[in-house]
Amino acid sequence: MEVRAELKYTKSHEWVKEEGGVWTIGLTDYAQSALGDLVFVNLPEVGDSVEAGEVFGDVESVKAVSDVYSPVTGEVEEINEELLDAPETINGAPYDAWFIKVKDVSGTEELLSAEEYEAFVASEE
């Protein structure tokens, strides 16, 4: 399982990265591996508001659907439309396959450091 030191994580297995007030969100390597081959992703629309700890989209495998939660409260600035045509990139490169970028962030969920997240995953297993 790959965990990147420069990212923050949630207990619901999203990663998040802040750059100049814009927060980029994706699914962790651990999550993609647990979910198996992903076949589709449902994303919000640009301009939608998302809330920390609430569902903003979902990912589909052949036989399951899993919710994806937002680590932050704010407004969707951009969505990764490439995922709609190539969901397999989430499996192949989870830390490149970002889902959404959020601006005007007013709050975040409890965020874990890389070490904390690794420890959390280990405790869950």
Partner: protein, 476 residues
Amino acid sequence: MLIFEKSRPGRGCDLLPECDVEVTLPQEKDKREKKLHLPELSEIELSRHYTELAKKSHGVNDGFYPLGSCTMKYNPKINEDMAALPGFTEIHPLQPAHTVQGCLEVIKESENLLCEITGMDRMTFQPAAGAHGEFTGLLLIKAYHKSRGDEKRKKIIVPDSAHGTNPASAAMAGFQVVSIESAPDGGVDLEKLQEVCGEDTAGLMLTNPNTVGLFDKNILKITEIVHNCGGLCYYDGANLNAVMGTVRPGDMGFDVIHLNLHKTFSTPHGGGGPGSGPVGCKSMLVPFLPSYVVDGEEELKFVKEPQSIGEMKSFYGNFTVIVKALTYVKTLGREGIPEASRNAVLNANYMMNKLKDLYTMAYDEVCMHEFVMSLADLKKKTGISAMDIAKGLLDNGIHPPTMYFPLIVEEALMVEPTETESKETLDEAVEVLRKLYEIAETDAEQLHQAPVTTPVTRMDEVGAARHPYLRYEWQD
């Protein structure tokens, strides 16, 4: 090969005579411009094409089909004959009432018989399938609360062991779904039920025996808790084949039910329909029934209920499917109905007992018409999953049990032999399952590869979903 690949321009069948009146066609602005591109084949090619497709399909007539929750019993041939009578198939649904007395009698008599079997007061036959019936029944509940000005009742309680259609139907009917965790014995957790019941409860959806194949002994208590908080009780008839003739949903406290005529009442599944999902209800829900009910003594007629929820689809339901079910109920009658379910339960218990020293039963007690095995241990031990065992069965001419359902059992295989299978068939299936277990322990790789004798092997479902290819593209 696809039928399109067999097509040759200019081939076809000689079917219709020339026009015997002056030809009229739409004006230019409404005339079809897009080329019509249907296959063109001679009759022999067509006929062989579908014979080939039939060979690559597996029905109840091909062998044992212990698909849990689906009641794949034998489909008697007399049913088909009766449904094909021109006196039924050649009747227009909008003929005057006095010319369709036979059709009305079919509906009336089916209603009488099935109401007696289920303990309901009236029944509508309009719903075309089980899920359609669920949606109908929930709309009855919604209309009932609304008529009493009780509009705060927005929640439908559904156990986590329920069929996926239950929560989906509740959502379609505009309800919020409250899922409650099952008790360790697989039944409804009374305390949890009590906790979630309140003045916002519209009702509870339940199947009994439940989806783990056990009869919930607390059933009267369950329905009482729901009624006490002002909710109604919905019975999912998927498992009625376990208890018909012994217990009636109406006597267990249920207010509205649906039946699956294509499960319990022997009409064929047709590769996924047409089924029929009649909805029965107690008197307080009758005013809201959809479409028409059949009334009258001397001459039967269609009558619309005063506060009817409206129409669920066109006309009166999948009529010839009802004819098949009526034929079946008439054949079985008062002794045959309980005899069918009693033997379904015997067959299930027999199979379970012949397997339980080897396979882990999710609940090791007397089951009803089906039982659930958990292959979690086997998977841990050998890497062989419920899916692998299922695929191994395919190589032995047996349709697999329902896989990965109910969701509360890990690596579940749900086995429903039905009453129409003989001891010899059950013994054979037990042998096959035992053999597969042995292979799992000795040569797991062999099972991972299964099936190998079928027209195709395991399919790339991921590829299919990632890059949907949903129709043939003509080359020209």
